[in-house]
Symmetry: C2
Subunit: 341 residues, 2 copies
DNA sequence: TTGTACGCGTTATCAA
DNA sequence: TTGATAACGCGTACAA
């Protein structure tokens, strides 16, 4: 790897001049010198040493993307990128980061101290946090004083330290459950594997829809799926038995929806004749299962893109329009809801 | 951010001593000094400046992970991480990289020059390449003279410049097609969206199975699915019409399999009564579709992990056992193949 | 056992 | 219009 110093000596110039040409600070450089330097730079395929550059400038050009492991989802995979929602979001982030001339460093951990360590070491210029719970976001912000954008993080204490990019989870779910109610359903279960974050907001949407329709809610209607890896089958069996008392099931993600659908069909349920199902996310699963899944649509790639763009804006000093950006959710009607009565 | 210099002056020591304590080079430091320094380091939460460290040592501690965009797969998504195989593999890499004390930088591009630029700038210590075609791997290796591990890359000219981590694609496919033949099938289509890389190897496996059973192959049996985003529906319609002449379809990925299954069912095909289907990958899709998909199993997370571990071994000077590592593929029998005749 | 001094490649300041 | 030179923070050879 050739250095500026070497180039300067070979051309009989100073490093300053070479550096200036590289950075287009050519107001005070003669046209002839510019041409000579540029030609040489191409010849030797000069590539800057980014460590030296960052050291000199106190920056990093790195966007840290941190995923916190969701322990309650380990039953389904211990690889968080198996979740296609997460994966697509990362793809959206990567693209926006790259197009803005930044670099992306991906880090997965469930230890906030470790996370802080990592971002401090690399001195990342900005941070995107996903699946942070409770005060995780605030804990990171307390130690890291550069721009932070969270995705799908609803802190109890609203913080000024970061911007959140989320979805109208409450509204989307409410709309979906209302659709069930319009179709005559009154025994509607709510299916998830946790009570926090987005799923809590979705639960509120579900409750609101029930309430506005004057339907009684009982804790029994909350289908909490919290198996260990070993007890998955047993838990599914239990849920399927319980499902007989319901005419419809709202599931907090397409994955849960297709898993429970497969299990129900195994046990002789016809869908939607015996039980209606609604999912959430609208990813490929919902379009290839049988029957095709009615679901709440959201755009994971777009979510990642928006988060990255806002973050890079912050780094560049652009004031954000809002501290709490919510993308739109909408019901995508397919074939898993039946009109009854 | 506090520096070693600052720490040294505050403790009345030299930077050398502080640095030595940090790196555990404590043979020549008094126990008392060690304790004093360590205590202080914790108090001030010292974090090294990695740019300075890398600059001084000419390393980076970064593993570059480069994905080349697969243009022939754009019909299905322009986000390569929508492909759950790719996403899971990334998850496997990330974990192994992190556990080895390295950092991962993800970069997606279809421009080899851009890719080389990126890895040169960061001077990454090692490189994992995915979905490289033809001589892509060699082109990168020509410019980048540090360890490279490719995943699923079968170059025409075998190169000494990198190690490949792949799968027994040929054998896995052959086994699957033989299973179809054992079940009485003789009109077996081969379904994919390209003729390169792993899918070519799988095609050879398919051909071998046919040949060993004395079954004639015609180019017609190759179901090439190469739509634009707009012509997806039209192409699917055409394939489904063609499928009437076959009793079984081998699909090069679970995703294609579930997509074609859904399309066939829409058109009144019963699976497996009217047509048998086999997929490839054994990801979640195959387990939640109806009926459950018989497929060739592989472990994407493991593939990523193995690639990363070999790469880090190379960086540390460990000689690899083989230049061409092949993980095992095996047939996972479920419910989409029917015995006929 | 500890300290001095230099090099890593770049950028920035200021003088020529 | 160009060039010396210091600074960024760290690691290390060598001196004390």
């Amino acid at each position: 790897m050739i250095t500026i110093k070497e180039i300067a000596s070979r051309l009989g110039l100073s490093t300053t001049t070479v550096s200036n040409v590289i950075h287009g600070k050519t107001k005070e450089v003669s046209a002839e010198t510019i041409a000579r330097v540029q030609k040489f730079l191409e010849e030797v395929e000069y590539v800057p040493n980014i460590n030296a550059r960052n050291l000199a400038q106190g920056q990093s050009k790195i966007i840290g993307v941190v995923l916190k492991t969701l322990d309650f989802r380990l039953w389904y995979s211990d690889n968080i990128l198996s979740d296609s929602f997460v994966a697509e979001m990362i793809g959206g982030i990567e693209r926006a980061v790259r197009e803005a001339g930044y670099y992306m460093m991906l880090y997965i951990s469930d230890d906030i101290a470790e996370i802080i360590q990592h971002i401090s070491i690399w001195n990342v210029d900005g941070l995107i946090l996903f699946s942070m719970m409770d005060d995780d976001g605030n804990r990171v912000a307390a130690k890291y004083h550069k721009p932070i954008v969270c995705i799908d993080t609803y802190s109890s204490e609203k913080s000024d330290d970061f911007i959140n990019v989320g979805l109208d989870d409450e509204k989307g779910t409410c709309q979906a459950v209302k659709y069930l109610i319009e179709n005559g359903h009154r025994k509607i279960g709510f299916f998830t594997d946790n009570r926090v974050g987005v799923d809590r907001e979705r639960f509120w949407g579900y409750r609101r829809a029930l309430k506005e329709a004057g339907i009684e809610y009982s804790d029994r209607d909350f289908f909490l799926f919290k198996p260990t890896k070993e007890s998955v089958d047993r838990n599914i069996e239990k849920l399927c038995r319980k499902a007989r008392d319901y005419t419809a099931l709202f599931c907090c993600s397409d994955i849960y929806a297709v898993i429970i659908m497969a299990a129900l069909k195994d046990r002789g349920f016809r869908i939607p004749e015996d039980i209606s199902i609604i999912g959430f996310d609208d990813n490929l699963y919902s379009r290839v299962c049988t029957p095709r899944l009615t679901t709440v649509h959201q755009d994971a790639t777009q979510k990642g893109k928006v988060a990255a763009e806002i973050l890079i804006g912050l780094i560049r000093g652009v004031k954000p329009v809002s501290k709490d950006v919510r993308l739109e959710a909408r019901l995508e009607i397919r074939d898993t809801v039946k009109k009854i009565n």
